[in-house]
């Protein structure tokens, strides 16, 4: 044991990041993936990871297909980060209909790639997780399957940072939201990114503006 661990071991549980709310909050409910593998919700899916979680049911024809379609595009944009440091989970709210087999064909039909798990489990556990991560605080909406939030919950467990993004956002926005829960970058890096972003905005603004001559002619001024 090193000196740092010796000094801190009595205040933090080494098995999880110090900032995390841990299994006491997230629960360690055993869920099943669309590959029919049992997983513990906190230990296997959340601990120390950046997770994108949304709620679906395969029979949903209103918002879910578009939401899943957007997430498929976002997964492509995230590239090899998915499965490495970013993990995607779609949790069913109708476990009585969505067994691993049904979820597997749903994942396949939408073109979900590795790193994205579709999960089912007991009604008790799934309700608990849904109410912890994405409830409206309004029973009328919370218990209506058609009203489940069309939002993606972003969790960075290492820093205990949470955010949310509508699943109807553009895939690019869905990807951008990941940066909101990432560790703050050094000042120099942020400055550099800021320059690049500003240059991008300037370029777009210039393209959107009409040429000066067109503007002057429109107002009857000499070119």
């Amino acid at each position: 044991m090193n000196r740092r661990d010796l000094l801190t071991c009595h205040v933090t549980d080494k098995s999880r990041p110090a900032a995390s709310m841990g299994p006491e909050f997230y629960t360690n409910a055993v869920l099943r993936t669309h590959e029919n593998k049992p997983v513990k919700f906190y230990d296997d899916l959340i601990r120390g990871k950046i997770s994108l979680i949304n709620f679906i049911y395969t029979g949903c024809t209103k918002s879910c297909p578009r939401s899943t379609g957007n997430l498929v595009k976002a997964q492509k944009l995230l590239g090899d980060r998915v499965g490495r440091d970013v993990f995607m989970y779609s949790i069913t709210i109708k476990p009585e209909e969505d067994d691993p087999e049904v979820l597997r064909s749903y994942a396949r039909s939408h073109g979900a790639r590795p790193g994205w798990l579709f999960l089912t489990g007991s009604d008790y556990d799934l309700t608990t997780i849904r109410f912890k991560l994405a409830r409206w605080d309004h029973p009328k909406l919370d218990f209506d399957p058609d009203q489940h939030t069309g939002m993606v919950r972003y969790i960075n467990d290492s820093l205990n940072l949470w955010t949310m993004c509508p699943t109807y956002a553009t895939p690019r926005q869905l990807v951008e939201c990941v940066s909101w829960i990432e560790p703050t970058k050094p000042f120099a890096a942020r400055l550099r990114e800021n320059y690049v972003k500003q240059a991008e905005i300037d370029r777009e603004t210039r393209q959107a503006e009409p040429p000066r001559s067109v503007f002057r002619r429109a107002h009857g001024w000499p070119a």
Binding site: T27, T127, T128, F131, H138, P139
Partner: protein
């Protein structure tokens, strides 16, 4: 001779098709709207036909044996045994019975209706159809009790459901809901199993409007569904997985779920559901801590004829339930 053709207008044709398909569609929608209630034939049943209750009982066992029981003095004795088979155990349309000593002689009865506590069989006795109603005989009696104090709009009062099961000699009571307590010097509330001393305050019907009670006697089906809801919430309280951060909201949702469960398979009570919409007469007008009080008060008004008074309750608690209800 060429047969004469009767042209049918397209609109008439489409209307006819719609009229044919509509009942089928309505049936599907109705089925989807109602929760699946699986029939369970295991248990003891007493038959009633033409308004007369037969003095014999029929007991169906899990292993496929049906036994006819007749009363000898104060005891019930087996007089005949058969094997039975349901065409679809969860939603049967027919039951096939064969005597154990003559398995080839199979008698089939059509099941025309079934619910939690009864089923009806039909036998065609030319030219009539004889209907026999079979009512479940249960040695236990079941009570669901809703109680709530009025309290104040900001703080409320104890509000919970009690489930009582008795065999005539011993009553088992489970109570879960919300109760106030003092955490040091701070007044607070908990959603948890109700402590004995608070439960005893509500053993008798309240005499004024400072509290309200609705006590119902139900059959095993609704009781078990209510118990399932109670046990789920008890687990949530134990595992710290209550759904909301507001105890009053958790309790209102729990009581609403429990009352709704009574009517899942058949109408047990006249129901007032909390819809949580802006036009909900209780949610829109009352403060959350007092919602259970007004909710139970409304249920009591709707079901005043089903309410079991203190006298009847104590009488029934001690009565062995050998007769079917």
């Amino acid at each position: 001779m060429v047969p004469r053709r009767f042209p049918v207008k397209r609109s008439t044709f489409l209307f006819s098709v719609a009229m044919i398909l509509l009942p089928a569609y309505a049936a599907v929608v109705a089925q989807e709207g109602q929760k699946a209630c699986e029939f369970n034939i295991v248990g003891t049943w007493q038959s009633t036909s033409n308004g007369h209750t037969n003095p014999t009982l029929l007991r169906f066992e899990r292993n496929g044996t049906a036994t006819v029981l007749s009363r000898k003095g104060t005891e019930w004795q087996a007089t005949d045994t058969s094997t039975f088979k349901l065409d679809n155990p969860k939603a049967p349309k027919a039951i096939h019975l064969a005597p154990k000593n003559n398995p080839q002689q199979v008698t089939s009865l059509e099941i025309t209706q079934h619910d939690d506590g009864a089923f009806t069989t039909a036998v065609t006795v030319t030219p009539d159809v004889e209907l026999t109603r079979w009512v479940r005989v249960d040695p236990y009696r079941y009570f669901v009790v809703f109680v709530s104090g009025k309290g104040t709009p900001g703080y409320g009062a104890p509000a919970f459901a009690m489930l009582v099961k008795t065999d005539g000699t011993q009553a088992q009571t489970e109570a879960f809901g919300l109760y106030p307590y003092k955490d040091g010097k701070v007044d607070t509330v908990a959603v948890a199993p109700i402590p004995e001393e608070i439960r005893k305050q509500f053993d008798k019907e309240p005499q004024d409007d400072s509290a309200i009670m609705l006590r119902l006697e139900v059959t095993a089906g609704p009781f078990n569904r209510a118990m399932k809801i109670l046990k789920t919430w008890e687990r949530r309280a134990r595992e710290n997985t209550l759904l909301y951060n507001i105890p009053y909201l958790d309790n209102a949702v729990y009581l609403n779920q429990l009352t709704s469960s009574l009517n899942d398979c058949a109408e047990t009570i006249k129901l007032q559901k909390l819809t949580w919409r802006i036009d909900d007469p209780i949610i829109s007008k009352q403060n959350l801590p007092q919602v259970p009080y007004f909710f139970i008060k409304e249920l009591r008004t709707l079901n005043s004829d089903l309410h079991v008074t203190d006298d009847k309750f104590h009488e029934r608690l001690q009565a062995n339930n050998l007769s079917p209800r």
